[in-house]
Symmetry: C2
Subunit: 403 residues, 2 copies
């Protein structure tokens, strides 16, 4: 009988326990062995829970119990999760986690410890919620050299952008609705400033390219500066604005960025609306593959945690394939060296724009004030673009990405 | 060192050998061991191939060589593939295959032998080409009870339907272009009559529901009767026509069908065009998850074969999870007991239509001849629908599916 401990009884933790018991019979058949949840770690009391006898406030109960085979860490954050996960791995227990902040910050180290101890460290739920992406990227696409990954990785911001695009709603109003519906936190910074997307693209990039990509080294831009005017201009060329995390192989280095992006309306990512996520993977053999589904939520995320538990219960040492090395900063292409096309909205004369940027594509919208223009540049280096923008009155600019 | 044999040097076989050597270093790192292709079985001669020394015309060379660990079967068909794969499994060799006909016809038996011999039998490439679907369905979504699977599983028919929808091209003309481009065979029956889609949905249904679903027991309808008039009527309600294979859990039994279907234009499957495939999986915890990519082609399919080889090389007995039982016919819901909405095109009076079908939704198209009408029924039992259709002059009908 496998004994499981669940660290944290919040939304994902309670969902994990729920799925473990709801589908117990089918899952035990898949594992080939019975299991039980022995501990649930939480500082709060749950006297009315059907699992009341399993709660503990003391982590030592878990790490020191040799009966515990598998630990599901669903606390979130790094402060407690990191020492707890590390201690569990060092004690020879397999760990599965939904904690993207932990994996993005400490993945290389935790994978190394798991390897040394010959236990599993799985994190399917850390990216894309219930969408299978970590294991498919690692196993099913393993015959490919990955050229590029790009994704809509945050449901909250995608919900807000969808409201802006489909209903012409302003950012503040859309954010308020997202908060009322429970999609966005009272303090929405982690979502709307792009940090959540950044952590997830760092995890995918680390896995695809084999070296740890640290969030601190990545250019990260949120959606707070996107306006309805931008949405309308992009609509006039059949494009939409999405918050994209991307990682692209550049001759052995990797360009990684989180930013709002203008993408073609026919793209597979353009039709991803509301709280849905999608991840596009370009492999040298498969071409484009896209994974789509709910990127968050209690049961989708819990189901990914439980699937990891099932695999961890079945096989002990499969970390050999799921791994990456630590890295130096110079593995990442500096943002100044990246080139992209740009959408620009400015108060400027066409002659000045063309003198700076050469041939551009002009866009239009209804009721644009006199003097305002919007255009799309040719592909241009980031630093050069910033220099040129300083010479005219730019209201806003967004990268145009080829997804 | 792992020794590999490849059965068949056609499109997928040569792609498999190509990928195995092109990405050898990276793949050996993933496996943790070196490998080599020891044999390639083909009745033809390839004197100028760089692998000329590996060819054999004698299957016994392979099955009797204890050095061969893994066999990749990419012959296609059942006649030779079935006895060869069976013999290899019985000899204790792991087998990976891209052969949907084989897996759909003999999967339960071959999985049983693999289980008994404690070797792997993998078939990621048999459905969806380079799209990871078999392993995600089996592993990553394993915490879910699967409610439903629906897919665009055949690139050739999707290419033809896309030409009809986007360019107003007739079926015959679109088929000819597909043949000229090499997407369709000279004898296109397996694609356009739906047999290829049927085999693939049978494999997915077997995996999702745990019992073998045999193609012979499944209602299978192709796209040869779809007309431009149907396309236009559906367009008027924002819908498109796609060839769908679906399998749906009905209280422990399974309803499985391959048929053209009218689906909503906003659906994730509606935007899947040209030779692309997509598979929608509805799980009780994850909700809708969609997998999208190239469903065929030399390198996408070969990459799936090679990924299976990598996993088979790494671990010996992982078939415990990837498996299903043999089944009785009564596991499948009879088609007559299924209910659907239907699109109908007929020469009939509205009064007669409404007397038969009750309230319906009428559709329109430009230049419809006098007397022709088109409408969508409420949900109705298949047998009842057929009975009612016999009472008016129906030109054609298509199921309206909720994907």
């Amino acid at each position: 009988m496998k004994k499981i401990a669940v660290l944290g009884y919040g939304v994902v933790g309670s969902g994990t326990v729920e799925v473990l018991y709801k589908n117990k019979e089918a899952l035990e058949k898949k594992i080939g062995e019975e299991y039980d949840v022995k501990y649930i770690l939480d500082l709060r009391d749950f006297p009315d829970s059907p699992y009341a006898d399993k709660f503990t406030k003391n982590f030592d109960d878990i790490v020191n119990d040799p009966e515990v085979d598998i630990v599901a860490e669903v606390l979130g954050g790094v402060q407690f999760a990191y020492p707890y996960v590390k201690a569990c791995l060092e004690a020879g227990k397999s760990v599965v986690t939904s904690n993207k902040e932990l994996v993005a910050a400490k993945g290389a180290e935790l994978l190394r410890i798991a390897r040394e101890k010959d236990v599993n460290f799985f994190f399917e739920a850390s990216v894309g919620g219930g969408i299978p992406i970590i294991r498919p990227l690692n196993q099913c696409l393993s015959a490919n050299e990955i050229d590029e990954i790009a994704g809509i990785l945050n449901g909250t911001t995608n919900f807000i952008l969808t409201k802006m695009i489909k209903e012409g709603m302003g950012f503040d109003e859309a954010l308020k609705i997202a908060q009322d519906l429970g999609y966005a936190e009272r303090n929405p910074a982690a979502d709307v400033e792009g940090h959540d997307t950044c952590r997830k693209i760092c995890i995918l990039a680390s896995l695809a390219f084999g070296k740890h990509v640290y969030p601190d080294n990545i250019h990260t831009e949120g959606i707070t500066k996107i306006t309805l005017e931008d949405v309308k201009y992009c609509e006039s060329m059949g494009a939409v604005i999405k918050l994209i995390g991307y990682a692209s192989n550049k001759d052995g280095k990797v360009a990684v960025m989180t930013c709002p992006a203008v993408i073609d309306g026919e793209s597979q990512l353009a039709g991803v609306n509301d709280v849905f996520n999608a991840i596009l993977v370009k492999g040298d053999a498969t071409g484009d593959v896209v994974f789509y589904g709910k990127g968050a939520g209690k049961l989708p995320t819990a189901s990914a945690v439980v699937s990891d538990i099932v695999i961890a219960a079945k096989e002990k040492s499969t970390t050999r394939m799921m791994s990456w090395e630590d890295s130096e900063q110079d593995f990442i292409v500096p943002t100044d060296d990246v080139s992209n096309r740009f959408y620009v909205r400015a108060n400027a004369a066409k002659a000045d724009v063309e003198a700076l940027f050469g041939e551009v594509r002009y866009l239009s919208r209804d009721n644009a004030p006199a003097g305002e223009i919007a255009f799309v540049t040719a592909c241009i280096n980031e630093k050069e673009f910033a220099d040129k923008c300083s010479k005219i009155d730019v209201i806003g600019s967004i990268r145009v990405l080829p997804y």
